[in-house]
Amino acid sequence: MANMNPKKNPMPSQAAEVRAHNFLEVALGYTEEAAIDEANRCLNCKHMPCVTGCPVNIHIPAFISKIKEGDFEGAYRIISQSSSLPAVCGRVCPQETQCEAKCVRGIKGEPVGIGRLERFVADWHNTYASGEVNRPAPNGHKVAVVGSGPSGLTCAGDLAKKGYSVTVFEALHTAGGVLVYGIPEFRLPKEIVKKEVDTLKALGVEMQTNVVIGKTLTIDELFEDGFEAVYVASGAGLPNFMNIPGEACKGVYSANEYLTRSNLMKAYLTSPDTPIMKGGRVAVVGGGNVAMDAARTALRLGADEVYIVYRRSMQELPARREEVEHAEEEGVKFLLLTNPTEIIGYQNPDDPRDPKNGFVSGMKCIRMELGEPDEKGRRRPVAIPNSEFILDVDTVIIAVGTSPNPLIKDTTEGLNVNSRGGIIVEDTTGKTSRDKVYAGGDAVTGAATVISAMGAGKVAAKAIHEAICGE
């Protein structure tokens, strides 16, 4: 008998006032009882609308049915047929606009908590299952994957399951890409990413860290080394700045730098080797998920005040609703319809050697109002004359987007990119303008979601398999 409660089982979480001061995970996960109770809300619809909402088409009603039976490992096996990173997706996917948006239960109440159930199943597996993996028989073909973020890992996993010998090349010292350098510990513990990477290694995927494709090796050299196809998933690494005066002041970070220092380099620990500015008053410019991550990291690093400075209103804020709510609960303040025009650096007129010289002392902002909609239908923010004011801050984090990294484009002849630097691909296959070179994820689209990058990895893995094995 289905559970007809219109509301989801609530997600147990650390209290806002506690979690705002630690880097432990915010959401704690369902118990077995809560998971079964939530699973029983699923009506097991024949037409499975949820599956069409999932970029990697997980057999959602099937895995939920297994949870109903208490067969959690069975549920995991179903998810892992479609997803190489279930513990990650259960945490960072925007389910509210994907699978859960299509759920029939969502019409008269809240949809089934598919993301929460996926997370439960993956965590259960990681805790209780033997880590043994059936290594498929090798098929004798070699494929290279550039970048170990969600897109690269997905492509590598899918190909390894078919028997390919896959090598993933990662520029940084740890595999995981944005999952380790970008998304903070309190949203996605790095231990979980490591487990997912270890699962792929157990499948036979080789991870080569400290190799920058485009520098250490080129795509052409990968082919010379016997790789039969290359999947480029190098991400959207280059931070955008605002090009306003004062961005070179000390205390101004790109969100990439700030988050990399804290996440990858562990600057949040008590005695880190890598420094980061802690405490004080922090402004984060931008309204996306990365801005929320940076703001919440700043709070946890001991900031007295953290502001999100965004030029449109709350309605246009592109971050996930859940992230915005979490940030608000924790004490992040939202300065909406506000745009920075200048970052002001301290300069002691009497002492050119004052150590405070050159550090941020404030940010000049202007109030905005919403005007006519632009070509995307979003109302364009317009500055209100004479409304400038100075925000008293000493750290500014710029989170206004990223662009694809040009290192590969610059060293790969015949690889076509669009005006924004994204690699041009055929949607249904991930094929680029270069024979045997495929691409996907943020390197193609510019900054997007983990799951869409994974979807692209899946598409490319399928196309590569068809091209090499003709299936």
């Binding site: 520029a171 940084l172 010292h173 350098y181 860290t209 400290n210 190799v211 920058v212 520098k215 250490t216 090796l217 690494g237 280059l238 931070p239 700045f241 090009n243 961005e247 070179a248 000390k250 205390g251 970070y253 790109s254 990439n256 730098e257 990399t260 220092r261 990858l264 380099m265 562990k266 620990l269 005695s271 880190p272 080797d273 890598t274 420094p275 150590p355 010289n357 050159g358 990294n405 040009p406 290192l407």
Partner: protein
């Protein structure tokens, strides 16, 4: 893991290491840099390549012990390993078509000026070298420079070796005497490069500087290494890791670069002290 094949102390604060990193050695060129981590949880630091042996698969680094990470690196012995070593990063120094070049090195910067001088010498270019140090104890690589230079001038701030004064003294003398070059390449402390650029400016001789700002990834991802070039009055942001590390010295905003390089001074000093205290326990 990357093995330290060879280690040698060049002076009390400067150490040379050859690191086994065949993929980096295969590609490295003068002017490029690597990023290393000594151990797990260690900091990533950039070091400009001081040489390479493609056959042996080794890359030479020469570093000054200035902070916690270089202190830890210096405590590693020949035969031991460091966690990470990635490169070659950045663009190589552009030497094409250069026939007569003046190399100006300062302190540990001489270590990375040397491969540039050597490459020029091998190309058949005429190399005039000026190298400067605080004092005689800090002198490095004199013989190596002499071997590839038509003339070599050694300067020390305190006059304990060579001529007394900074590197601009002989430079200004050469310019006054009407000496000219296809290019001046200067590598050393920011303040020295700033003054070399100012000395060269009236001559109009192209002047290349090698920047070494604070970095994390070295691939363009963090933007921490950004610096400002002034081109026709317009201020343009560049990333040293992917656009450099070499830049047209006449365009670099050195004051800003110097300010940025001091961002973490208090942290770095404390961390270095803590690290030294940690090692004291071992001895």
């Amino acid at each position: 893991m990357y093995q330290i094949i060879h280690k040698r102390s060049l002076n009390p604060t400067v150490t040379l290491m050859d690191i086994h990193a065949p993929l980096v050695a295969r590609k490295a060129k003068a002017g490029q840099f690597i990023i290393l981590r000594v151990d797990e949880e260690g900091e990533r630091i950039p070091l400009t390549v001081a040489g390479y042996d493609r056959e042996a698969g080794t890359v030479r680094i020469i570093f000054q012990i200035v902070g916690a990470t270089t202190e830890k690196l210096n405590r590693k012995n020949q035969g031991e390993f460091i966690s990470d070593f990635v490169g070659p990063l950045g663009r190589p120094t552009d030497l094409e078509g250069k026939k007569k070049v003046c190399i100006v090195g300062g302190g540990v910067g001489c270590a990375i000026a040397l491969p540039v001088a050597q490459a020029l010498h091998e190309m058949g270019a005429e190399v005039t070298s000026v190298i400067g140090f605080r004092s005689k104890d800090l002198l490095i690589l004199e013989e190596e420079f002499r071997a590839v230079s038509k003339t070599l001038t050694v300067m020390t701030d305190d006059g304990s070796y060579g001529r007394k004064g900074n590197v601009c003294v002989p430079l200004n003398e050469m310019f006054s005497a009407g000496e000219t070059f296809d290019e001046i390449i200067t590598i050393g402390p920011l303040i020295m490069m700033k003054f070399v650029v100012e000395a060269a400016r009236p001559t109009g001789i192209p002047c290349t500087v090698s920047m070494n700002p604070i970095m994390i990834d070295g691939t363009g991802m963090c933007g921490g290494c950004r610096l400002t070039l002034v081109q026709e009055g317009k201020r343009i942001t560049k990333f040293a890791c992917v656009d450099g590390p070499d830049f047209n010295g006449y365009e670099v905003d050195f004051d800003e670069a110097m300010s940025r390089s001091r961002m973490y001074f208090p942290f770095e000093r404390k961390k270095h002290e803590d690290t030294c205290n940690l090692f004291k326990g071992d001895n």
